[in-house]
């Protein structure tokens, strides 16, 4: 290893014209002809497994049949009735482990119906149409609900509540709504500012007041929300990331993968986003894949994605791992970081200890290796990171908000969903399902208040 090398992190590693190709739509939209042909592969199964596999229970056979019958608007209606963020989920869902995994065509033809792409086709067509509002609000209930966090959970919750006739104020700490849809998902999955276009459509139903730049930072704010609104939904997401907990974490060049992805998403031109010549990504989830692949796409010479366990334990599905590899990422397993090596306050390499599983426990084998790095992206998970919540009296479980089967927190009149709750699984579609679940329960309670127990 050369002791003379200099850290190398810079933007513009590629020829200007290369960026457009690198960050183009990962799965280009289906043409109408392709959509109909693909739709014809759907068998319209009885009690379809794909519906059961969808956290929001989208009626897949129905919407696909409508595409086949040239009723694309009806298809979009069917999707959005179950999931108002159906367009985003169509882009972001790991369909290979959800609806498409259980498609019976896998067994027969070794290839599922392209449910995700068909779903995107239908919703895209609707959103692009002149009269794209398919929902109407119920008569005003006179009730007001505060939704904190305009990520997928909050958006879904707000949309369902306003449809039920409740007035919603949707708060978000960031400059733009969308949460991870806007800041956290890889650029090539949501080209053309899709997250914002979808939100614009979603808010178009009316009855939702959006307030960005509002963060929940005090107990007083929380109590005020409870006083002023008939119900509160918390879809805060996870504000903080886990630390590696090894020496050298503060060195220059060590970056949160979440931040790296966000910077890229918000950059008007990806050529302006700095990336290391040699990048080490620590972690094995979808964030790790998104960060690793995008680092490579930005022109990193070498990207190593390093995970402390084996491929089967990874949060990223096999398909995502394969995707990363085909984009030039090297995935290394059974390596846990021990130390980030320093050169004048700048990271120069990562030392890893090889791991093995012994009696169900991860233990070092004693072997070590060093990977040179100009940039280290940390992607070992996120955490709640908002101490105020516990002070508000909200019960936590495993470091996140505890909720019951209806999405109720331990505080009366307060519901929660998305990544900030204990059952959150990092999927947009799960967050949507949480938001909708809470909205149903809130609506029920606002219409038929249970006798006060307090």
């Amino acid at each position: 290893m050369s002791e003379q090398r200099k850290p190398d992190i810079r933007p513009g590693r590629l020829a200007a014209q290369a960026y457009a190709a690198h960050f183009a739509d990962i799965a280009p939209p289906l043409t109408a002809a392709q959509a109909v042909l693909e739709a014809s592969r759907c068998l319209y199964c009885f009690d379809a497994p794909c519906v059961q596999a969808c956290p929001t229970r989208i009626d897949v056979p129905s919407f696909i049949k409508r595409i086949a019958e040239d009723n694309v608007r009806g298809a979009a209606q069917s999707i959005l009735q179950s999931n108002p963020l159906g367009g985003f989920c169509a882009r972001d869902c790991p369909t290979e482990v959800l609806c498409e995994q259980v498609c019976v065509r896998n067994v027969q033809q070794g290839q599922p119906v392209a449910i995700g792409r068909l779903q995107r086709f239908a919703v895209d067509r609707l959103l692009a149409s002149a009269d794209n509002q398919i929902f109407e609000r119920a008569p005003a209930s006179g009730r007001r609900v505060a939704v904190v966090g305009a990520g997928p959970a909050g958006l879904a919750c707000a949309h369902a509540l306003t449809r039920s006739g409740h007035a919603v104020v949707l708060y978000d700490a960031a400059a733009k709504p969308g949460g991870l849809n806007e800041y956290g998902v890889a650029t090539y999955k949501t080209v053309d500012d899709y997250a914002q276009r979808e939100i614009e459509w979603l808010l178009g139903v009316g009855g939702i007041t959006l307030e960005c730049g509002w963060a929940l930072t005090s107990v007083e704010q929380f109590e005020k929300l409870r006083r002023e609104y008939d119900a509160v939904f918390l879809g805060l997401g996870l504000a903080d990331t886990h630390r590696l907990g090894v020496p050298g974490e503060a060195l220059e060049g060590v970056v949160d993968a979440v931040e790296f992805i966000s910077t890229l998403r918000q950059a008007a031109d990806p050529a302006t986003v700095p990336v290391g010549r040699r990048v080490v990504v620590v972690g094995g989830g979808m964030t790790a894949v998104d960060a690793a692949v995008q680092a490579k796409l930005l022109g990193a010479e070498r990207v190593d994605m390093v995970y402390r366990r084996g491929p089967e334990h990874m949060g990223a599905s096999q398909e995502e791992q394969d995707f990363a590899r085909t984009r030039g990422v090297t995935i290394l397993y059974w390596l846990a970081p021990v130390e980030l090596l320093d050169e004048g306050g700048i990271v120069r390499a990562v030392r890893f200890a090889r791991q093995r599983l012994t009696a169900g426990r991860l233990v070092p084998t004693g072997e070590e290796c060093i990977l040179e790095a100009d940039m280290v992206l940390k992607a070992i998970g996120q955490r709640l990171g908002n101490a105020v919540l516990a002070q508000c009296g909200l019960t936590l479980r495993d470091g996140r908000l505890a909720v019951d089967a209806a999405g109720r927190t331990s505080v009366a009149g307060v519901w929660a969903g998305g990544d900030c709750i204990a059952e959150g699984q990092d999927l947009t579609v799960d967050a949507v399902a949480h938001g909708l679940r809470a909205a149903r329960d809130i609506d029920r309670q606002l219409r038929h208040p249970a006798p006060a127990k307090e």
């Binding site: 014809s40 009885f46 065509r105 067994v107 027969q108």
Partner: protein, 435 residues
């Protein structure tokens, strides 16, 4: 290797595949290309009387029923008989037949239902050296409004009369082409035979409207905003044609009358079906119009391979083989019992069999077992209707099993008899005949 050459009512051709009278056989250019591609014969597009040529629409003549993958299910047309001058057609037929002496060249004719008209055209057609004539009593559109085509084919007396004229004024074999737009195909066939026809060909096209444009709410295709019923053909009509061929082949009065089978033939297998039901030649149009003339090579190859595999030395050895299996409903053996069987190794768990049976039939297929998705036939409910077999997307996953005599039908509790029991003798039949 099996021989494909045939002799059909005295007309020889190197294979049984003829192009039907239609646009593909309208002129020498097309027919030459067809013969080069390997077609055994053609029926030249219908000639009309001498005089000013007919006029076709200068807009859409064809409409199609397409599957989602845009494969063609059905096809229709409103084209009339040839719109070319009679003399030109006769000259070209003469030249083509001279160049292709081994191929069958049959000339289709449609003139008004008057003896003089037929008497005038027949010698002229005969002079071309063609092998036979086909009387177009079938076209259901346009010409029928002028008292020709299916307007003749729907009146057995006319068929008999015109056929007799043709036999009187021509020495050529006479093939009578029948329209399916009748209630009972046996009557026109009997009339053709009674008139002296050497053969019949069927089916011509079926009256049809293809579609309504959802935007304009006009019939589609449309000429200047209006449409008219056309003649329907293609794969969708094949079952109708097969039935009509079988009806004629097994009718006491017409049995043995040579039949040229027409209707949705696009492969060797389709041709096999017509031949097995008694057809001596087959005619093709739609498939050629979709794929071009080359497809005859696949048909020839496929039919040869099939005949070889079955040990048939010729087309004639296949002809009519399936006919004994066609009978009247009243002659079906009501003592036979079948039950559906689902091959669990092949089942992909789509559940179509279940919901079809549950909603529309006999509730004879499970959807769950021990809380898990599982599709299995409940023999105590199954009537052996075959619906599940037809809706299953997996070939040979669901089959029908015939119960052996002595087995108990779990639906009725009765032991399956080895005896035959036809409705004619069934105890529930109030007018049963004792055998």
């Amino acid at each position: 290797m099996a021989r494909l050459d045939i002799e059909f009512c005295g007309i020889r051709s190197p294979n049984p595949f003829w192009l039907a009278s239609a646009p593909p056989t309208d002129k020498a250019y097309n027919v030459e290309r067809a013969f080069e591609a390997g077609w055994g014969g053609v029926v030249w597009k219908t000639l009309g009387e001498a005089g000013p040529p007919l006029v076709n629409v200068s807009g859409p003549r064809y409409g199609a029923l397409l599957a989602l993958d845009r494969s063609l299910i059905g096809f229709n047309n409103i084209e009339l008989i040839t719109d070319r001058d009679l003399e030109t057609n006769l000259e070209e037929i003469t030249a083509v037949k001279r160049r292709w002496p081994d191929r069958a060249v049959v000339v289709s004719i449609m003139v008004p239902c008057q003896e003089e008209s037929w008497k005038a055209i027949l010698p002229r057609v005969e002079d071309t050296g063609c092998d036979g004539i086909e009387l177009n009593f079938g076209c259901p559109h346009g010409m029928s409004e002028r008292g020709m085509g299916s307007a003749v084919g729907q009146v057995p007396e006319y068929i008999r009369m015109v056929t007799a004229w043709c036999k009187q004024y021509s020495r050529l074999p006479v093939i009578v082409k029948l329209t399916p737009n009748v209630t009972d195909i046996r009557y026109p066939a009997r009339a053709a035979k009674a008139g002296g026809a050497d053969a019949v060909s069927l089916i011509n096209t079926v009256n049809s409207i293809m579609a309504i444009d959802p935007q304009t709410l006009t019939v589609s295709p449309a000429v200047g905003g209006q449409g008219t019923h056309g003649g329907y053909c293609g794969p969708a009509v094949r079952p109708i044609a097969l039935n009509m061929v079988a009806e004629i082949a097994r009718d006491r009065e017409t049995a043995g009358l040579p039949i040229s089978g027409i209707g949705g033939i696009g492969s060797w297998r389709d041709a096999m079906e017509f031949i097995a039901l008694g057809a001596g030649s087959v005619q093709v149009c739609t498939a050629a119009m979709v794929f071009g003339f080359k497809i005859v090579q696949e048909m020839v190859n496929g039919l040869t391979a099939y005949l070889d595999a079955k040990g048939f030395g010729s087309v004639e050895e296949l002809r009519g083989r399936a006919l004994p299996s066609v009978t009247d409903w009243s002659r079906l053996d009501l003592n036979r019992v079948s039950k559906a069987v689902i091959d669990q190794d092949k089942c992909i768990q789509c559940g179509r069999c279940h919901i079809a049976c549950e909603d529309t039939e006999h509730q004879a297929i499970t959807s769950m077992r021990n809380g898990r998705r599982h599709f299995e036939v409940k023999e105590e409910e199954c009537v052996g209707c075959n619906l599940c077999v037809n809706v299953c997307p997996v070939p040979d996953c669901i089959t029908l099993r015939d119960l052996a005599p002595g087995e108990v039908d779990r639906r009725t509790g009765r032991t399956v008899s080895a005896e035959r029991l036809e409705w004619t003798a069934h105890p529930n039949n109030p007018v049963r005949t004792t055998v």
